[in-house]
Point group: D3
Chain length 164, copies 6
């Protein structure tokens, strides 16, 4: 069976040697989401329209986390990110009281390895930050699913998630 690439011959984790890889332009888009209750939806919406913008804080947190990915995820290579952007969108079905924030994080670099983990970390931290700022109004929020939507660049080619 093929072996996990992140382990050395002693069976212990290593940061994979990418010295031979070429520096190419790479992008990754990750998605996450958080389901909130009706009150939280109302509170966030009100703030987004003028002041008290929960998403503004989540955005900053996500961008700063993307830059810290290699210090959070142990075997991740440090990469000089060239661009990070995050988007929020409401996905609402009022009859069933479904209030969901859809989160999309996009990260770019010119580097030796891909930025999948940076995008996934940004999306996750955006969701966690929303949770933190709204938890006084209900702790039953649910984060995720969180997944990679797309990546481009690198030797192994592109990846595009097929939505089910």
């Amino acid at each position: 069976m093929s072996k996990l690439t992140h382990f050395n011959e002693q069976g212990r984790a290593k940061m994979v040697d990418v010295s031979d890889k070429s520096e190419t332009f790479r992008t990754a888009i990750a998605k996450s989401s958080i389901i909130v209750n009706e009150l939280i939806h109302a509170q966030i919406s009100e703030g987004s329209n003028k002041k008290g913008d929960v998403f503004a804080v989540a955005q900053v947190a996500a961008i700063m986390a993307a830059k810290q990915t290699s210090t959070i995820i142990p075997m991740c290579h440090p990469l000089p990110l060239t661009g990070i952007d995050v988007h929020f969108e409401w996905n609402i079905d009022a009859p069933t009281s479904h209030y969901e924030v859809s989160i999309k994080a996009e990260v770019k670099t010119k580097g030796l390895t891909g930025v999948e983990m940076e995008a996934l970390t940004a999306a996750s931290v955006a969701a966690l930050t929303i949770y933190d700022m709204c938890k006084a109004a209900g702790k039953e929020m649910v984060i995720g699913p969180t997944y990679l939507q797309r990546k481009t660049g690198g030797k192994n080619g592109n990846f595009e998630r097929i939505d089910s």
Copy 2:
């Protein structure tokens, strides 16, 4: 309508003043999960039984992230955590090729605020680390749902998630 507590009178985010709160013993348990393919399941399982233990790396990452929560989540109070533990369990339905790692993170403190965010951050980072170490064998992994299972301590009392 009640207002979000994390904003000041200018409508901008603040770290809520908890100077008046009492130091109490607090715990929180968060859960997450990651769905992997059959190959990744086989690779992780093989390693867990002897060497090349993916979960061992995820465990360390989760514990270190829990301690960094207040530097990752902007409005989180710094807390002197007194205990952190993480558990992994396989949830498998072979006929439908469902291979899922269930992640449970428990955090404890004696402090002025709860440790919900620390537990949620630990569980999220455990899942992200598993993704990172296995992504060479399939990038379609899905993380989450991630949620708070239980919290104890603090003025607002306990919280226990009702599983649906």
Copy 3:
């Protein structure tokens, strides 16, 4: 002559021993400012009223920096901050084209040492973040003066700056 307290008998810096101090409630307010040009004033103002809020980003940066003070300022004691808030105010004199953002950072703790440095660091980083986000429209911005406005708590009593 009295000696600087931060040096040991070898004449090298130390983190002063505060083991004998009592944990008391402490606050500090620091002020800074940044002078911008007319265009930047217009751009920030437009954003503050709805979207693209420069101050929202500066606010988050200031709060996160306050929590990191003891990792930025070498001889600063680590403190479990209990509250951080930052305010922005325009101080404008249009005839002389004077556009100034006044920044006030307030930090609270229950701890062994004061939070002057945390407040000063927060105010400084707020100003630096505004500089960063506006520098494409003029690099001649000037930050400061930055100073301590007030502190309370601790053995040495309170401090209140006398405005000249």
Copy 4:
């Protein structure tokens, strides 16, 4: 009116995409200062001449902060700095009891974006560190003005501050 470049179409902050920029040699010089009282001047001077060197600590703090700029300033790109230096100079007018430390921070890189923020952060942190180490002898110290003196490199050309 021209728009701030750091915001996306949702009006929220992003780390600007610099993937298309060229890697060039870049430098920036920032200046700050701190006004101290006569006693502090005497204490620092005595130490600078032999032991107990306040500036030596401020120097290390400034250099370490410059390297951390992209983790302190939210929308700053991470850059592999190639050189950092900091200088201190006394600017004294004894008759008016004016004791001022002039701080100059110079930062260099080969990278996609400029190092203005790194130089400004280094100069600010040098001043904050001096404040921290001397505050037992007087909390009325004033930091700044802090500003960019010069930058070179990059598409937009050089900048040189015109001293008033």
Copy 5:
């Protein structure tokens, strides 16, 4: 056989639960050393006497590292350190060309766990910093032995190393 305390029942690492421990005053002293060549000894000595003080930089690095111990050592509890001091001493035997810097780091806290790791980390980082600053004049320097000299406080009582 007794088991390692840092592992849970799944055999994976945890941060040990110290919620039941009492907050007591604790100290630890660790020692390290670095053997340098004659040229490096001369260069450091010259600087220590006036300017270019290698030990001043190592001192700052050690103090900052002590405060970061729980982010560097995975299972270490975060502790609010109340005092950190580092001393350097030359141990020279000119006839055999033995030039050794003896390093002593002392750390104090009022907390739930001991500060052995903080003292050991401070001493190690002091030695590493000296290596870094002198390596242009000889890379054959040897760091250590590094060990705990003494600890006080805590349920398990004091420890004092018996010098051989």
Copy 6:
């Protein structure tokens, strides 16, 4: 006498300007060790063979520390590391009750400066982590000697330690 390169003309530390250096492939191997007692040897060995693997935690700590070297060692240049690996080996002489873990850390980069400090930091942190996880069973462990075994790449050529 030749002067230390890390000081400016004011005699204070600087991060040396390497803007003129060429980006080359560089490697460094550092070694450290830790002497433990018989009980600790038995506990670690038991864990390494199946669960409770102390070395797995030390490995992760070492890799994460290598990536943080430029934030721990003040004058170190930030470098985009391309590979990190760590190995552990028992060196036992039972008759004399000598139980020693030999640690080897190897780091690679394509960069402007060498990775000696990254390798030395990784080896040191691996040893410190073993100390932390085993100290409940004996605090008399001794870390080191820690030294550079080999480096390749860069203008100054290779270095290979001659074992005595």
